[in-house]
């Protein structure tokens, strides 16, 4: 089974919340890359600081079969339960207020948290300290693993608390984590953006703190981006084209480049430009981080070494298979990577033998031919197949000087014409 050297879980975990690590662990145990008992130990460790005592007990019993569940856990459990009860008592009036239909309506219609707050205080006997109770209860629920409840409470909390509140950003983090864990991606994305705004505008924090928060956000957002339908565009937008986040990746966590590279490869719409920028970044960080995916890109776009790229592509498949975030887009990735190789090949060559191509693309010659025919039919490729020789012959792309000249001068007169009225009005002034 052996340890997978390309597994990033250990690198990612420090930047994630305890609760967010669980899905990763779950995934690992399914993949069977690590020893199951080790994983269970690790999970138990993670649980030790949460209130998910039942879950911890479960793991404990599977881990040490026949042994009594440790005394501490039982004690902790009773403590948690009593806490839960006291909290519920405390928050009971609050939820009563919010359960009223009128308040619900007001909640939805009101935009300004200050006026909403005033309204609640005046009409329903809401006290400002209740907010804090709400916050602690939400936190408690989250610790217990009751994420959807936590998300709900934090939603209320966020609606009522001013942006300047010390707990505001913390509540956003909590909300995001809860949404991720309940797999509510739409809301998670919304929260993510809100959190990003809060971090970017957080002038009061020291640069180091901001950097750290950005790093967290980058890691947490992986959950969202690789699950939300629009995530693959957004990840490029955020990681590659926002200098502050790119800097954070380069300084703190170059391993995220794997996800960025994958996103760029599977993104069909804006690949050219993004790829160029990505290659630049990968080249810069080559010394700090390299895995099959980034190496694949480097081989293809820096060294133009197709054989090596081919090798890497094979490795990429296993990497993707074992990566929690990327496992879903494995097929897309392979398809797109092939297309990339082929496209590059076509741009360089004028004549390619199908056999060689098939080898490069990791296909049988027949499949390759079919694949090319499809490409030609979809007008993605200007080429013809010479079946006698078994070659693909590219269409000539050379542009004649005449054509160039015409292209260059075509719109000049039109553009000058546009200037005339502008100029004319000034001239007549004189």
């Amino acid at each position: 089974m052996g340890e997978n050297i390309y597994d990033l879980t250990s690198k990612l975990a420090p930047f994630l919340d305890r609760h967010l690590v669980f899905p990763l662990m779950e995934f690992l145990s399914v993949q069977k890359t690590y020893d199951e008992t080790d994983l269970r130990h690790a999970r138990l460790d993670i649980l030790s600081n949460t209130n998910m005592v039942d879950f911890a007990m479960d793991i404990f019993t599977t881990l040490y079969e026949g042994k009594e569940v440790s005394h501490e856990l039982i004690e902790q459990r009773s403590k948690v339960v009593s806490q839960l009860n006291s909290f519920q008592e405390e928050t009971d009036p609050i939820f009563k207020i919010f359960a009223e239909k009128e308040v619900q309506k007001q909640l939805q219609s009101s935009r300004d948290q200050q006026s909403l707050m005033n309204y609640l205080v005046e009409n329903h006997g809401f006290r400002p300290e209740m907010l804090d109770t709400l916050y602690t209860f939400a936190k408690f629920q989250y610790e217990c693993g009751n994420y959807s409840a936590a998300a709900d409470y934090l939603y209320l909390y966020r609606g009522l608390v001013p942006v300047t509140d010390k707990n505001f950003v913390v509540s956003l983090w909590g909300k995001l984590a809860s949404e991720i864990l309940t797999q509510n991606w739409e809301n998670a994305l919304e929260d993510l953006n809100r959190l990003k705004e809060a971090i970017d505008s957080g002038a009061s924090n020291s640069p180091l703190q901001v950097l750290q928060q950005r790093t967290w956000l980058i890691h947490w957002s992986l959950f969202v981006f690789f699950n939300h339908p629009k995530g693959r565009d957004l990840i490029i937008e955020m990681f590659l084209y926002q200098p502050s986040y790119l800097n954070a990746i380069q300084t703190m966590c170059p391993h995220v480049l794997r996800y960025l590279a994958t996103a760029v490869i599977i993104n069909k719409t804006s690949r050219r430009q993004a790829m160029r920028d990505l290659v630049r970044v990968i080249q810069q960080e080559m010394y700090a981080y390299a895995d099959p995916i980034t190496e694949f890109v480097a081989n293809l776009y820096v060294d133009f070494d197709f054989d090596a790229a081919q090798e890497k592509l094979k490795q990429c498949a296993t990497v993707l298979e074992n990566d929690f975030f990327l496992v879903a887009c494995q097929k897309d990735f392979i398809e797109n990577a092939r297309l990339m190789i082929f496209e590059l090949f076509c741009r360089i060559h004028q004549c390619i033998s199908i056999n060689m191509l098939a080898e490069k693309l990791n296909m049988t010659p027949k499949d390759a031919e079919k694949w090319i025919v499809n490409l030609i039919r979809q007008a993605k490729l200007d080429a013809k197949i010479d079946s006698k020789e078994g070659h693909v012959v590219m269409g000539t792309q050379a542009v004649s000087p005449y054509q160039q000249l015409i292209d260059k001068t075509k719109n000049l007169s039109f553009r000058t014409q546009i200037l005339i009225p502008l100029k004319g009005c000034c001239y007549t002034e004189e």
């Binding site: 004549c351 033998s353 070659h391 542009v399 160039q404 100029k423 000034c426």
Partner: protein, 851 residues
């Protein structure tokens, strides 16, 4: 003032044989000087006229009388001289009338006079030793002689116990005989020297002195119990040397207590910085005081305080800031500071700092508090060290000898660093860290280099780890920007030195120093330049030619690398430096052992430029708008082209130029052998730590770039080229050739594509004919024209009447004329400003301008 008199006297006597006019002037001066000195004389000798003065008068009188008697000689004199003689005689008579009695006495018995004073002196000796100098200088002057060395000896004894008395005597005699050089000597000595000089002049009896000295020596050997009368003097003075000094500090029976010592100290220090303070004497006094404190075991705090002041006054000793201190003082100060730090280290309950005022000091009981700043002293020491080094000739043995002191300097810094780490504030620690860093950053540590290569474990302590630790502390704790900037630069320098290219580059990029460095002080800018150079060299070693070129471009472009790196002064062409400027520039220079080899630097730059520029030139041979990448490289090329006969290359530059030419022709073998040969190895490549690796890298780069150049230059004669042939030609692996060509195709640098089944490069005939290319150029220009028009209309300030006219005429001109459209861009501004008149005028102007 007495000295002045003596001076005049000796002058006077020297002039005896000269014309009387000057004699007369001398006499006048003497009178004036005597007037001035009168007060002092009165005070010190109770109104007694000094013997030497009387003697002088008598001599003069005798001499004048003698000349006056000699009537024949008088007649032969020039008119002026004769006149002067007469006046002088009259004046002298008049003047001597005031001293008639004394002169009479003196004439009767000159020796008696002296013995009188001598007696006086014996009396005075106990309470006023300064008086010694004012003794008469008659024939008995030599009797008195011992008293001069006596004082000298006090100096010696108190100054340093290491100097044996024996060694000091000869030096004494040296000074006596070479009195003319003594202007620079400290005042305390000048007095004596002049005294002696006079003795020489007057008596001319050096031999006699020699004898005495010999006697003295023998006496020394015999010990103090000599029965010779003169030596009797000696023995007294010798015994009295210390005890006699002491009463000066403290009375014999005075109790030596801490307050008394402190009071004495502040008395001594009060004279600091005042005019006329004898700095040497001050040092001695302090030393004396230190010994007293030590003998009486007054506790370390007092000693520390005195030591402090002692060190400060040694620093003070050198009046000019720009001159280095004397070597013996330097050595002494090293010892003193070391002692001081040791004392500090063993008194942990002592607080020391500048913030402690004199009043709040506590020296007697813990917690001790002492005013003073060790850091400043050590920093000053460091600066003095650099100054000393700079004062030496860099190629002499002296420099090497001086440089040995660096070990001691570093040790002291380390000691202080340890002390500060325990006691100091963060800002102080930052300062001392930086000192340490600046001693560390330019040194190549073999262990660190091994660590980088992974041969040593990360945990091993090397200079790299050390730098890392020190710099990171400064990054976090420092709140003055300067320290941090310097630390960053040193850190980058050190990493580049050890081939940590990526880390160095990232730190450089993250520090954002490029934008702010021109606002910082000059030494920091110099350090920045040095760092950039080192970074460039590092990039080159790693084969990042482009980065190397960019890093070195600024330094090399003006041909002022020497000046920018502060490794020497360049002769100014336009104007002369003032001495002040020159002094400042010299102060800024980096000591020789930190220099970066300029020839290597230039070579690396030129080779990088060659590797970039030659393929570029080949690719854009017919491009009208080709830009120069490296001016100085082109300069070298042009220089060699201008020569009518080019011989085999001798210098480094010639080698590079010849290699460039070979590369241009695609002859990579010649190119490589021109750059990588024994001569160049000795000059440049062997200076790198891993010369072999660099050579390999360079050879490979030459092959690759030659291939590119070859393709650019000769692609038009081929219809297709086999990649296999190419790879054989350039001895490159097939894969590399393929990769290079693929890159060229993708970047559309050559119009060609690969034919995979035959592995050939097939050229696409897209090179236009000359007519086509010209028309393409015209189209380009038209395009630019339209762009410019649009831009002009977009710019609101330009949107005025005058402008419109130009725009109207603009297209016409540009079509008629071959010059670059840029010209219009350039002239639009001034034209618009000058001619906001009518369109006619502008039309005229344009016509004038172009036709």
């Amino acid at each position: 003032i007495v000295i002045i008199v003596i001076l005049y006297l000796s002058n006077l006597h020297n002039r005896c044989d000269l014309i009387f006019l000057s004699y007369f002037e001398g006499f006048e001066d003497l009178c004036k000087a005597y007037q001035k000195a009168l007060n002092v004389v009165k005070k010190e000798e109770g109104g007694k006229i000094p013997g030497f003065f009387l003697r002088c008068l008598v001599d003069l009188e005798d001499y004048i009388n003698q000349v006056w008697e000699d009537k024949d000689g008088r007649k032969n004199m020039s008119k002026n001289n004769a006149k002067s003689l007469t006046t002088l005689r009259q004046k002298l008579r008049k003047y001597t009338r005031d001293f008639e009695e004394e002169i009479r006495l003196f004439r009767e018995n000159p020796d008696a006079e002296d013995s009188d004073v001598e007696k006086d002196e014996v009396d005075e000796d106990d309470d006023d030793s300064v008086m010694d100098d004012d003794e008469p200088l008659g024939p008995a002057a030599f009797k008195k002689e011992p008293s001069i060395p006596k004082e000298e000896k006090k100096v010696v004894e108190s100054e340093s116990d290491l100097d044996s008395d024996e060694s000091d005597w000869p030096s004494d005699s040296d000074e006596t005989s070479s009195s003319s050089e003594d202007d620079r000597k400290i005042e305390g000595r000048t007095r004596e020297t002049f005294l002696k000089k006079k003795v020489d002049d007057l008596e001319g009896e050096k031999t006699k002195k020699e004898k005495i000295r010999d006697k003295r020596k023998t006496k020394k050997e015999k010990g103090e119990s000599d029965d010779d009368t003169k030596d009797g003097w000696q023995s007294v003075s010798k015994k009295a040397a210390i005890p006699r000094e002491k009463p000066k500090m403290f009375g014999k029976d005075d109790e030596v207590t801490i307050p008394a010592v402190v009071k004495k100290l502040s008395e001594i220090m009060a004279a600091r910085g005042k005019k006329g303070t004898d700095r040497k004497e001050q040092i001695e006094l302090l030393h004396e005081l230190f010994n007293i404190a030590k003998e009486n075991t007054l506790g370390l705090p007092v000693q520390i305080k005195i030591q402090f002041n002692l060190i400060m006054s040694i620093y003070d000793y050198n009046p000019s800031v720009s001159d280095p201190m004397k070597v013996d003082f330097w050595e002494k100060i090293l010892v003193k500071i070391d002692e001081l730090l040791d004392m500090l280290a063993i008194t942990p309950e002592l607080a020391i700092g500048e913030h402690i005022t004199e009043e709040s000091e506590s020296l007697e009981k813990p917690p001790y508090r002492v005013r003073g700043c060790v850091l400043t002293i050590v920093e000053r020491m460091d600066e003095e060290f650099i100054k000393l080094l700079k004062a030496c000739d860099a190629h002499s043995n002296e420099y090497v000898v001086r440089l040995r002191d660096e070990i001691q300097t570093c040790k002291i810094i380390d000691k202080l660093l340890q002390y500060e780490e325990e006691h100091g504030m963060p800002s102080d620690i930052c300062r001392i860290y930086l000192r340490k860093i600046e001693h560390l950053y330019y040194k190549y540590d073999k262990k660190a280099a091994k660590q980088v290569k992974g041969e040593l474990p990360e945990a091993e302590v090397t200079s790299l780890n050390e730098m890392d630790r020190l710099c990171k502390y400064i990054f976090v704790r420092d709140n003055t920007d300067r320290l941090r900037t310097r630390a960053v630069l040193c850190h980058i320098y050190h990493m580049s030195l050890h081939d940590k290219w990526y880390e160095a580059r990232d730190l450089m990029l993250m520090a954002h120093l490029q934008e702010t460095i021109q606002h910082s002080d000059l030494p920091t800018q110099i350090l920045y330049n040095r760092t950039m150079v080192q970074l460039g060299l590092c990039a080159f070693r790693h084969g990042n030619v482009k980065e190397a070129h960019n890093a070195l471009l600024d330094i090399q472009s003006g041909g002022r690398a020497k000046e920018l790196l502060a490794q020497g002064l360049l002769p100014q062409r336009q104007y002369e430096r003032t001495t002040e400027q020159e002094k400042q520039e010299k102060q800024r220079q980096i000591p020789f052992h930190q220099h970066i080899n300029l020839e290597m630097l230039e070579c690396v730059y030129l080779v990088s430029a060659m590797l970039i520029e030659i393929p570029y030139m080949a690719a854009h041979e017919f491009d009208a708008r080709r830009r120069m990448i490296s001016k100085s490289f082109h300069h070298q090329l042009k220089n060699s082209e201008r020569q009518s006969l080019v011989g085999p290359p001798e210098s480094m530059r010639e080698h590079v130029v010849a290699a460039s030419k070979a590369m241009r022709n695609g002859n990579w073998n010649l190119c490589r052998s021109l750059l990588l040969n024994d001569k160049m190895n000795a000059k440049v490549w062997d200076l790198f730590h891993e010369a072999e690796k660099v050579r390999l890298m360079l050879g490979r780069k030459i092959q690759e770039e030659s291939l590119r150049t070859y393709l650019f230059t000769y692609s038009h004669v081929y219809d297709s080229i086999s990649l296999v042939t190419l790879s054989e030609m350039f001895e490159l692996p097939y894969g590399t050739v393929h990769a290079i060509i693929s890159k060229l195709i993708i970047n559309e640098e050559i119009m060609a594509s690969l034919d995979e089944p035959t592995s050939c490069l097939v050229m696409h005939r897209t090179e236009p004919s000359s007519l086509q290319s010209l028309s393409l150029q015209l189209a380009d220009k038209l395009y630019n024209l339209v762009e410019n028009n649009e831009r002009i209309l977009d710019q609101k300030p330009f949107f005025s009447r005058g402008m419109q006219v130009i725009i109207r005429w603009f297209p016409f001109f540009s079509l008629c004329l071959p010059p670059e459209i840029k010209i219009f861009e350039k002239m639009l501004g001034p034209v618009w400003r000058c001619y906001s008149g009518g369109p006619q005028k502008i039309k005229k102007f344009c016509v004038y301008f172009f036709f």
